[in-house]
Symmetry: D2
Subunit: 473 residues, 4 copies
């Protein structure tokens, strides 16, 4: 069996990451994209790809696997040009397929075009069905192919790509951060609700786009600003140009970008991801105080909130769990008790730190709860007197239609159980979650509003088949 | 550097092979297709793929490489269903790409469809350009994508797939053998000129289609008949159905199928490939008699004609050249004289057979002539007193637009040189070719007429940009 | 170019890890060894191997690579038996070779034997030379082969393996932790100085041996005790037996096991590795106080000491550097400035944590200093007002002959430069090291004495060719 | 399941091939060895290796697999030096192991030494047992390790390697062709009975050694002469030197080298392998005449004898069976009837050649008979009126102790059955073998005598445990 970290730690799955550069300084654009994809690797670990515009011809390389599996020096060196886009992907469908890897590179009446997409369209199926009726065929199941077909069909011969995209943004609904490479331009798009992030950086005289600011850092670029919800930016020989489409009154930035998805060193819409996790820990300490001897975090994603909890509560922070960095994708499972064994190999409790202590264990979320109980057991076996589990996000109860991969609702432990019941399932001495109000305050410095649909069911737009994911088994 | 046999032996390159089965007997269709692709492997060695219809859902697996590289038991076992198509491919474009591997599997208004194609459309670019104007995008450079788009656009909702294909056959021009898998049917198509072969076999109550009859043998099926030029056959629950479209007066079956491409154990349009090569040797012996001690063939493809030459001339046949079966794709080249070294590793002359003899060396064609001179040298170094080269096809002077991959005309040794000059280049004591009239008589038993355009420039249809390939450097 | 973490972070290299189990409870011994090797992976990342005794026949599998690269389910399942040993290796010679991977499995007069070794013999070359004179040949360059030959030569026919080993321990000098598998026994050995660790655990009625206690945890075993310096333990059907050989008055446990090598969740000779690092941070804070705003650690190995420094000094601990977990072995280097780029991809500074702050940056050692300057630059580029570097080990000035892989002395920055000069090289605002007295106090709870030769040149035994590594270029 | 050609065709298995070069002309010795190993690949397909002497240091590379799998340009380029030896291996033990691949490279009192061996010692186990008693350990199961240990033990400090080898040749019994690389010399050895071949070639001013003359051809060298039974040749700066040890009165060259093992283009002890197979066919025609319409051979090894049979009998030779060159090692087996299916994929009958004919089918041997019956069936299914099987070697009834890998005697169809019974098993219309007198006459031009033990049980030396392989189940 093959486990990923998010499987093991029972996390929501990452979605995708995009990057783009249009160089006016003769940069090695493929190599810079490759570095940036390393920095964005946490957003997608199933496929990686880079497309490069070489004097109007778009060459590309993509395959299943991590960035360092997919690209060797040979592939990078073949990709010369002045503009590039890159993509890392986590597939939300059960089986990941090579056909679905990105960037998607197509040929249409205006020449070649490469697209990379982070997000999820809620009306892709409907658009697809209509286009099929009109005689279009599809070779993959990714939204990018829908968007590419919309451009191929609706772009007029005397129309700019950006004007065409602006029109299409009135048609497609959902979350979409796009980078699109054409023979002359590199276009970046953030959906009208701003659900997924995208930011702009500068490297010498050249501009770059990245899902997160950590991608800019890896490429050596300076952060300039976030792309605004509904904004289209066009990078070309003439520098950068912005087009703002009409948007809803409020943005709806995904809160889970701050809670779990984004890298702590990224800054999204003005708020530091790391700082927002510290804040979440502090607020959690205020909302869920408890008398204890030690605060620990579940590595890696729970560590920052644990530090925040410690700061606010004054309770000592300690390294109570050690994570084995070497457990790979091909871990061989024992026949039985596999999750317990896997937890024991992947994590170890620091007996001398924990023994005899009342421990507050901070994690950023509980999805199925299947792993949490083994971690609690690990701590108790190591001598913890009490284990109090505190979660730095509210209970996840509703499906996401914007790119997070959820288990079905009956597997979502908070959707179908009370907090007391969950506490019983994970066998903790107490369990507490941060409040919805609390979590919304954590992205300190952001002027955006947030999508909290997975916590409260308030979707920022109409979503289809909501019922399909709603039953508790 | 990486050599293929046809590179080494300086041969025209194979094109593609297709296979299909619609089982009414619960066969393991993927496995039978896998066996058949082994038998058709000589037609394409760059990619292989199988698509299977499993109760209306089409699953597939394809990748770059030989059949035994691409498929493991795991992949084959995943492909269960009642109908399957398979494809082996040699790409005629410079670089072979995974995106171009087949079968192509698409989704359109009528559900899924898988296509595999052997041949070359002469008006694909023109159709593509028109479709792009109409808003269609393309993700590959293969003709199959053009055909799939034609079906997606022009199939009416109440129309059979075969009727739609019949209409499309009036639009597409060139050579095309197609197998098309739909949720309910398996359709086989042979172009109106019959340039590429396709035949029908029976296995129990089920029907199969194969580029060559050797594919039927490998699947354990009995040969029934060839698909006729312009014929569409439909395999389904209801058995087999035939539709005949209007065709040109005469077929134009490719002569090189008999000369080099097809396997000797195949029977195409009623003529045994092996027998046609024996015939070619016999006719060559009549047309190009010479006094000598020994007839040998260049392995493997020249051996049969050599036997024919020996039969007719009464000159002793001998094994004068041994081929090393183990030289693989990754042979490491010496820095200099690479072709000579490669020839010496790949072939060895039988000194004790050849020494002191006047040798007639039969080969089936000369493309560039670059290897021939090294083989002549090998024989002379082994003591041959004279080396007379006799070629069992006429001089190749004109480009093929129907699926054979030619070097540019200035590399085609017979296009730009007299026979005397070629003889001088390869350093043989004499050189002779079979005549055009002669070669046309070799497919004994066939009632078809043949395409001889590469010999005489008489194309069976209008071809585009004929001039592009015509200059001698 | 191919970087390992220790290359990148400019660390001393790990040596090896060993594990053994003799099961009386029908455990799947290969699988448990596999889990334990995962836990010991940090001790050696170049090869991995497992040997199993199956009713007197020893089968094994080993190869270059990480545990999860080397072993698939297929290999593990082939290794059935009642006793097993495992090994992970880092080769101290320039090129790692498959021939040197362990366990070494040999056949001699008493049947088969498998050996795995952690450490370095100082008189191996001398013994080897003598044995060669006597007609022995060697097939590898590892000490295990020397030890195996000693056993093969000196074991008398009526002698126990353990008695033979006891005699050999008077011959071999240096550091050696051994696990030896024979058709009837599993023998564990710790060298007379106890330089490398080894501990005993219990799993049901069965005993296990592990380089570190974290290996016991991974196998689900309970820690029993450390093997004592000079002790031989024999695991068999009859349980566990101990033989104590004469030892020097004091043990000489390697301090770097606590500083860097061992996993923080291991307990060695009674002292918690994690606690000793906390202590090191605290002592460093007392010895090297400085007024600053923030304490950060260089991930991962500097983090714990940073927490200790923060505890003692009262200066806020923060996450100032983020490490990218995905940068793999095949990272493609930029042409120039490669180390800077690699540092930037591998680490990122948390601008909003650091900006405007006077930062104390804790690391556990400086080897060459080549990376440190780039980390300091990273922090300053992120806005750090001051960067004070504090090192939780004393300056490394002398070569190790007991298994740590050192660069040559002229590359060892502390061997040839004053602290002021090093501070200048790394461009920090100040630089301080923990004292030798200080570091010796950190393994709280250990009753052992320590080897501090790399800091002070006081070797626990005579070492050969000391001069060879001593010049500063 | 994984089939090799010899499995499929039910052949005796190849043993090993060796090659060596000592260059005085600055040849790229590794590359020439690589080319030669390609030519010797038929002698061993399980592992390949090359060792090179670079100014007294021996570097090497070896691994499991075919020559083109094992060596990339990178490996070859690393192996620079002035002398090299190479080896291809087929392991005669059930499982092939990397530890057993050759050349074996060792270090002993006189420095490094590399050995490669073709053959089988009959007293290796006995010598090994004695050496183990004396304290020697073994790491593999190959005879080379026994020989290397004999050299390491018995070579005196002032003794030449060749004098030491001469002494050892009085100790070891069996078949052995050796090439041994030392820091100053390259030594070639052929056993006293001359069971396995070895020949000498010249390339410029340099000498080369090869198991077969085809290896010389591939390296571009001229054949000089065979190494004589019992001869030691020493290649060095001083050219070539010969030492002749005392030998038995008659040589005992293995007849199967001519019948099946060696390449047809090789000349062994003055006799052409190809010519000897033609002779075998002719003699078979005389001894086993039958009235028929067609003579065919089972490709590839039966083809030459078939031509000889045709020549002598005057019955037409034809290509009745076609072999698929693409069926690889990883062929996926059908669940049942696997051998029939495999035969059908691997071979195809030429219906139009065979149909209605009385066919004489020539093969060079029958081992188990399991494949022969499927080939007979293939021919009959293709319409053969009669199938007469004629075998160009006598019935194999006795085990070989000199390097051929035999099935156990109860699997050897001729050991336990009459010819009539075998004919019934393979379902042929008649079956005939060449006589022992006949086969001995086939190596025309050889002055050697032959080992015919597998046919008549007359071993050229005492062999151990003869009885072990003798029972019929």
């Amino acid at each position: 069996m093959c486990f990923k970290d998010y499987d093991f730690l029972d996390k929501l799955k990452e979605e995708c990451g995009v990057f783009g550069i249009y160089s006016k300084d003769n940069h090695d654009v493929a190599r810079l994209t490759y570095y940036a994809l390393y920095a964005l690797q946490h957003r997608g670990q199933e496929s990686a790809g880079i497309a490069v515009n070489n004097n109007g011809t778009i060459n590309y390389y993509k395959d299943m696997g991590l960035v360092h599996d997919v690209f060797s020096k040979k592939e990078i060196n073949k990709l010369s040009g002045k503009a590039a886009i890159g993509h890392v992907r986590y597939s939300t469908t059960g089986e990941s397929k090579r056909e679905n890897s990105q960037p998607m590179v197509i040929q249409y009446k205006k020449g070649q075009m490469a697209l990379a997409h982070n997000g999820n369209l809620v009306n892709a199926a409907e658009i697809r069905r209509q286009m099929e009726e009109d005689g279009v065929l599809f070779q993959s199941t990714i939204d990018s192919e829908v968007i590419a077909n919309l451009i191929a069909r609706y772009r007029k011969s005397n129309e700019n790509i950006e004007d065409c995209i602006a029109k299409i943004m009135d048609v497609i609904k959902g979350s979409y951060t796009l980078v699109i490479l054409t023979p002359k331009k590199l276009v970046g798009v953030r959906d009208k609700n701003g659900i997924r992030p995208l930011c702009i950086g500068k490297l010498g005289n050249s501009y770059v786009l990245s899902s997160e600011s950590c991608g800019l850092d890896a490429a050596g670029a300076q952060f300039i600003r976030d792309v605004e919800p509904g904004e289209i930016v066009v990078l070309s020989e003439y520098g950068i140009k912005s087009i703002k489409t009409t948007t809803p009154k409020k943005a709806s930035v995904c809160l889970f970008e701050y809670i779990y998805f984004a890298r702590p060193d990224s800054i999204i819409d003005g708020a530091s991801v790391h700082q927002s996790r510290i804040e979440a820990g502090k607020i959690l300490a205020k909302e869920q105080p408890i008398d204890a001897d030690l605060v620990i975090g579940v590595p890696d994603s729970g560590l920052t909130a644990a530090i925040g909890y410690s700061m606010e509560s004054g309770i000592q922070y300690g390294q109570g769990l050690i994570k084995n960095r070497y457990v790979g994708r091909t871990f061989i499972q024992p026949e039985q008790d596999q999750r317990e064994m896997f937890v024991r190999i992947k994590l170890n409790a620091m007996r001398n730190v924990i023994s005899g202590k009342r421990v507050i264990m901070i994690d950023d979320s509980i999805v199925r709860g299947t792993t949490s109980k083994w971690i609690v057991k690990l701590l108790k076996d190591a001598g913890a007197k009490e284990v109090h589990m505190k979660i730095s996000s509210p209970p996840v109860k509703y499906p996401c239609f914007f790119g997070m991969d959820f288990p079905s609702r009956d597997q979502l432990v908070a959707a179908c159980n009370t907090i007391d019941k969950i506490c019983e399932i994970v066998n903790a001495d107490s369990l507490g979650y941060i409040s919805l109000e609390g979590i919304k305050k954590t992205p300190v410095g952001s002027k955006c509003e947030f999508c909290s649909a997975c916590f409260d069911g308030e979707y920022p737009m109409e979503v289809p088949n909501k019922g399909d994911k709603f039953s508790c088994g």
